[in-house]
């Protein structure tokens, strides 16, 4: 009998006699590789409770080495990383030619799995209903703001009839280890910002949010659906419509750097700026911000579902973004490819806070329309959307302020 140890380079041998008889050996020969040094593969499992790894050892230079990672149930292998935390491979069974030097690889696993839900960041969401707590928060918030004096509150800067108006404010107040956001408004936010303020043209009162009242919302962990895990990163989409914002606050063309920019241009839209400033800075801690990858966001015609599309913009580099039409019809992310299907995975319910901001909730489905980043190809005023029933159908005027915001981002695992 003979073996080359399957190209493994052992340091130890054990020869065992099987059965009930003594086993006699006439001769045994071991051949040796006469090198001065035998490089090693050192494997370090960064998450040993989430999976197992094999393949470390000493190998001949030039031989094929296979290292393997097996995640435990419901967990996911992320990848092999070198000692500088550079991603080497995302293959769970990774084969490479042994170099002449020692190598060390870290295996990373994650508790995330595609299609599962995770929590990351915080945002005001559930309405506070405890009367004692409301009283405490009201006292802490101090004097209520007016159009001439915001006091300690911050003006949302929302629009009524076009121009920005001071009528809706917020204040963040810590209490007993939690953070709460107070919302106060003296006029109703119109569902389209070129409209006047009235109960007729606002959804706030339809959801029991009224003028000259203070409402409080607790900062709670944001729940995200894991759309994909690839390249050492996870693609997350918020589970709820977290806020209500217009896509852009005007339908007028603009001139930027000598070029005409239309109202449905995502690169220069209000909603993109809001996501990457207001939302980003409210929802995430410094540590969480480091985990958020800067995504090269595809804004090409093919991403919009219309090709050609005269209103596309360049790709953007964003921390937070809206889904495109092509993403929200991508089966790899768990969506129905048919845009007119009432896909439950596309439906999004609004948070209490989003309702206070004027998002429209369709009662039958407890869900809201929400913006996609894709411009419509037929009109410079329109951008694509997902309907409350889950259809990725049609579009609306960019000044609609009653649409939900469903952020997406990639986090580095």
């Amino acid at each position: 009998m003979s073996t080359n140890f399957n190209d493994y380079k052992p340091n130890y041998l054990k020869i065992e006699a099987l059965g009930t008889n003594d086993s006699a050996i006439n001769n045994m020969t071991i051949s040796f590789h006469c090198a001065n040094y035998y490089p090693s593969v050192t494997l370090i499992n960064d998450n040993p409770t989430l999976g197992n790894i094999t393949g470390g050892g000493v190998y001949f230079t030039g031989s094929n080495v296979t290292i393997s990672a097996t995640p435990n149930t419901n967990y996911t292998f992320v990848g092999w990383y070198d000692t500088l935390n550079n991603l080497v491979s995302t293959e769970s069974s990774y084969t490479f030619a042994m170099p002449s030097n020692d190598v060390t690889y870290h295996a990373k696993f994650t508790t995330l799995s595609k299609g599962a839900t995770t929590q990351f960041g915080t945002y005001p969401q559930s309405k506070v209903t405890d009367a004692t707590l409301i009283s405490t928060l009201n006292t802490a918030a101090g004097t209520l703001p007016t159009s001439s004096n915001s006091e300690a509150w911050t003006d949302y800067g929302y629009y009524i009839s076009g121009p920005v108006a001071s009528y809706m404010w917020y204040i963040d107040v810590p209490n007993s280890g939690n953070l709460y956001r107070g919302v106060y408004f003296t006029s109703y936010r119109p569902y389209r910002i070129d409209l006047a303020s009235s109960t007729y043209d606002s959804w706030q009162d339809d959801h029991d949010y009224y003028t000259n009242e203070t409402y409080w919302f607790k900062f709670e962990p944001i729940s995200w659906k894991v759309l994909d895990i690839v390249g050492g990163k996870a693609f997350l989409l918020a589970d709820l419509a977290l806020d209500a914002q217009d896509f852009h606050y005007s339908t007028d063309d603009r001139s930027i750097n000598g070029a005409t920019v239309h109202a449905n241009n995502y690169e220069h839209s209000h909603i993109r700026a809001w996501l990457n400033d207001t939302f980003y800075n409210t929802a995430f801690t410094t540590t969480e911000k480091i985990m958020i990858d800067t995504t090269i966001v595809d804004n090409s015609a093919s991403s919009t579902g219309y090709d050609p599309n005269p209103y596309v913009c360049d790709s953007t580099n964003d921390k937070v973004f809206l889904l495109s039409y092509s993403e929200v019809t991508n089966t790899n992310y768990g969506f129905d490819a048919y845009h007119l299907s009432t896909d439950i995975n596309r439906k999004k319910s609004p948070s209490d806070y989003a309702l206070s901001q004027g998002v429209n909730r369709i009662a039958d489905s407890n869900s809201s329309y929400y913006w996609l980043r894709s411009p419509h190809s037929g009109n410079y005023e329109n951008a694509r959307r997902v309907r409350a029933d889950g259809m990725a159908a049609a579009y609306n005027i960019v000044t609609a302020a009653s649409y939900g915001v469903v952020p997406a981002l990639w986090i580095i695992l």
């Binding site: 340091n11 130890y12 054990k14 006699a17 086993s23 071991i30 006469c34 050892g57």
Partner: protein
């Protein structure tokens, strides 16, 4: 005859040996039943054996 291993017995090295590439064993006769294990850390299992 080079060596006889008692039934269920074994021989192994206790200090590491570097550079082993191949192993060839010539059994004395058909009654010899042997299994060879190899490893880098003195723990042996069927995944690295013949």
């Amino acid at each position: 005859m080079w060596q006889t291993i008692k039934a269920s017995g074994y021989i192994t090295n206790t200090a590491p040996v570097s550079g082993m590439m191949t192993l060839n064993i010539e059994k004395a006769d058909a009654s010899a039943h042997l299994r060879v294990f190899w490893s880098n850390d003195q723990t042996f299992d069927a995944s690295r054996s013949i």
